[in-house]
Amino acid sequence: MLAYLLRRLLYAIPILVGVNLLTFVLFFVVNSPDDMARMHIGVKRATPEAIERWKVERGYDKPMFINDAASGSARFTETLFFDKSLRMFALEFGRADDGRDIGQEIRERMGPSLAIALPTFVLSLVVSISFALLLVFFRATWLDFWGVVLCVAMMSISSLFYIIGGQWLVSKLWALVPISGYAPGLDAARFLVLPVLISVVAGIGSSARWYRTIFLEEISKDYVRTARAKGLSELAVLFRHVLRNALIPILTGVVVVIPLLFMGSLLVESFFAIPGLGSYTIDAINAQDFAVVRAMVFIGSVLYIVGLILTDISYTLADPRVRLQ
């Protein structure tokens, strides 16, 4: 198991290098730093001096891959590629356009993001699986049919509608919770109820339908018939046999997103003015702050790879037959 994990970790390195190269090409080769500077300063005011100053301020004034002016190892370290790309492996993200340290910002914003993402994740898992089990319990009845219709209808509604409609209904019309905002500590709860609720409701349709298909596939297998033949009640069959055995496909889809919860949700955080990583990303996108977007891409891919490894480990926990080697 340890050897397996070590191999997976080693395998992660080329993938991260690939991500790194891809983002570097996207951000520096497709568009030269000159283009970025011109866009940031505004085409009209972009004199060569202004562009040069912009680049020096942000450390974009170095050559791309090889610095001929320097000697020794500095030939390679005094370059854009080393500075902006390779340093990320040491989790040094540099500064955003407003001069703040990106790493510091990310550490501060992780908390609010998790405060929304974690309850959302747990609640939607519980609600969707319960709903799917309910539909499976009543399979091939009108309840199942209309439940599936409801799922399809719910997944056809734009997530923007859930957020805008929910905010309007709960916060404006019923005035139950504040429309948006955030407070540190326990005070945050009253700001978090609505976004969590809306995210859970918005996700039910597609996930409940997906779990239902998984359960239905499992329930048609022979061991389930055997369990029923032994005289087990339908509920015991569902929870003790079907749910346990359906865990593998469920884990495949679910565990990989757990680390990504750190990244927060772009839409929900920006609508509810939560100072998390999601709204940080959105602000960076709108302000065209490439340094922040680059940092988030890198962190996102690291977390994705962590998620893949966690998925493998979770298999061994859920199914004793699975051995990692």
Partner: protein, 483 residues
Amino acid sequence: MSMPMATTFGLQPVLLWTDALLFLLIGLGVLAALHARVQAPLREAWRKVGRRPAGMAAATVLLAFIAVGVLDSLHYRPLLAAVEAPKAIGERSAAVYSTEVLSVLDAMLAPLRLQTEKTYSAPFAWTLYQREPMETADGRQVRGYPRLAHGGAHLGEAPAAARAGDLVAGLAKALGQAAAAWLGIFLALATVVWRGSGHGWGEVATALLCGRTVLAWRAALVTLGVLLVVLALCVELAPRYHVLGTDKVGQDVLYLALKSVRTALVIGTLTTLVMMPFAVALGIAAGYLGGWVDDAVQYVYTVLNAIPGVLLIAAAVLMMQVVIDTHPEWFDTAAERSDARLLALCFILGITSWTGLARLLRGETLKLRELEYVQAARAFGVGTPAILRRHILPNLMHIVLIALVMDFSGLVLAEAVLSYVGIGVDPSTISFGTMINMARAELAREPMVWWSLAAAFVFMFVLVLAANLFADVVRDAFDPRRA
């Protein structure tokens, strides 16, 4: 990035890139349909789709949306009236065309497009939604609701009383027209089904109405009836009223919603179309050839998967925006520029979404290459390209088709979110996302403005719901595991 063609009839046809690809897709669809007619298994699968009421109803709705999208994809540049000065006989006038690119749909909806108001007005209103300072007959300044320039302008001095009668009359007329059109279509359909069925015409017509036909024609007819009523109502009332109100700058919301349909269709279909060649080629190569090719392809899609989709899209869109902004000389008109951005968005969405399809195709190819008939072909010395073409590719097409229809609804929803975030279509392109983006703060206004958001969400909901239902039926019919 457009291909202006020969000038005719005082207008210059313009073929935008997305138009060309959309027509290519329709052409491929027609070819596939002709192919399916002669192939028994394919014909049977499509008949399975037709037997499901949900499939027929969804297909009817989708066809209506596609019709709107196609009409909106026939673009042209109108001749500028100002330069039509009289010329000597025989002299060819140097025609000057407007830089504004219009579509056939624009021409059909000319009243809606041109009759703009000053700002917000509610559906079927005859006044603006907000009070404004205005002058009474005796010269005093008061704050009141000014009359609209176009909506309800025919109602005269007592609009409240006149409107009720006008609406009822319009409704009755529209229902009559819809009923007549529906009856015509029903008679035509009954005759088509009757020919060669061996039953009496009356029998066939009753079977159609009672839903006893093999294909679920009744579901299609009912859906068509609803669509016809909506259409007739719009045709009847939209020239006189703003049926769905007007937005902040006074544009008709119904017009915006109809124009959004094309953007949604383009994103939903072209994304899959442009990524399909990559996904098919790489998926098959990885699955069939194995070895280092497999490793390389898997590496590429793991890298692409590792980057969170939204961020990759954001990064790519930001970069593309810089490229487009730094090269204004590439585009003749604003429409071409926003079209280029739309197409680029399709490519970017395609890059992030081809991995799923490629992985499915790779897995299926791995399974297929071990089957007896493929091994037999190899033993007979058939070359790899021939095996791929004759034995592998045709057996993968159902996966591609299922991916095409399954991805559609997700892409339409994604477009709205991306445009809302600011990394979607060009802000000048009318789409559901830009509509929602413009109306984002309207529910918080006092008094609340709900119609722009409602129109965008309802149109999107109907389109996505139809697409989801259709996708389910198609998957059930074509996926052998679900037989």
